[in-house]
């Protein structure tokens, strides 16, 4: 039993990403979408929180949203995996529930 969490707000003006991370269970996945993709940036103040949860929680970023904001693979934390819209659908289908952190 696992949960897909989606985060669509920048972690620099909103606590959604940190709250999400603090409520994740091992085996869950976090998908960063829309302004949430800023949470994938390497060297940011939330980097530590993301890296710390990454061993037990898979972190994904929606490729189109990241590219749109200039967050290419080189700017991202290596722990963050990239998915397209098809991968988004797969994540929804392979987890038991989806929880949006608005």
């Amino acid at each position: 039993m696992s949960t897909l969490h989606t985060v669509n707000k920048s972690p620099f003006g909103n606590g959604a990403l940190l709250s999400c991370i603090n409520h994740c269970k091992p085996g869950d996945a976090v998908l960063l979408i829309e302004d949430g993709v800023y949470g994938a940036l390497a060297g940011s103040v939330v980097e530590h929180a993301v890296i710390t949860c990454a061993p037990s929680v898979s972190i994904y970023v929606l490729e189109g949203d990241a590219e749109a904001r200039g967050i290419g693979p080189a700017k991202r934390l290596p722990d963050v995996q990239s998915v397209g819209y098809d991968g988004f659908v797969d994540l929804v289908a392979t987890h038991d529930r989806t929880q949006a952190w608005l």
Partner: protein
Amino acid sequence: MSETKKFLYVNRKAPYGTIYALESLEVVLIGAAFEQDVSMAFLDDGVFQLTKGQNTEAIGVKNFSPTFRALGDYEVTKLYVEMESLEERGLGPDDLQEITYEDEDDDWEEKPSIRIVSRTEMADIMADQDVVLSF
């Protein structure tokens, strides 16, 4: 088809700055008609929705905090409030209004609907649901 699912309504927003909190309460009250196993979670700024002493007279919007006390009549009797979220805001359980329900399985005894839980317990509650709706 009478399969009951576990629904959790997650509230993370303060009551009057945005419409989320009021809309959540409206959806819960409407959804209550579908006889599912409904719980509500209050964390982060969502804990401000349940505080005592709200008076919206001067801002010209409805004070909907008393409406939470009607939830028991709709069989919504599990209001989980995260202790860490309260503490981070300088609040404690005593700052919340009293919300009760009458337990039909226990001679209609009046019982508290608000259950204070830890962050870890809240994560467990979230992971135990069939459907999570966020506001």
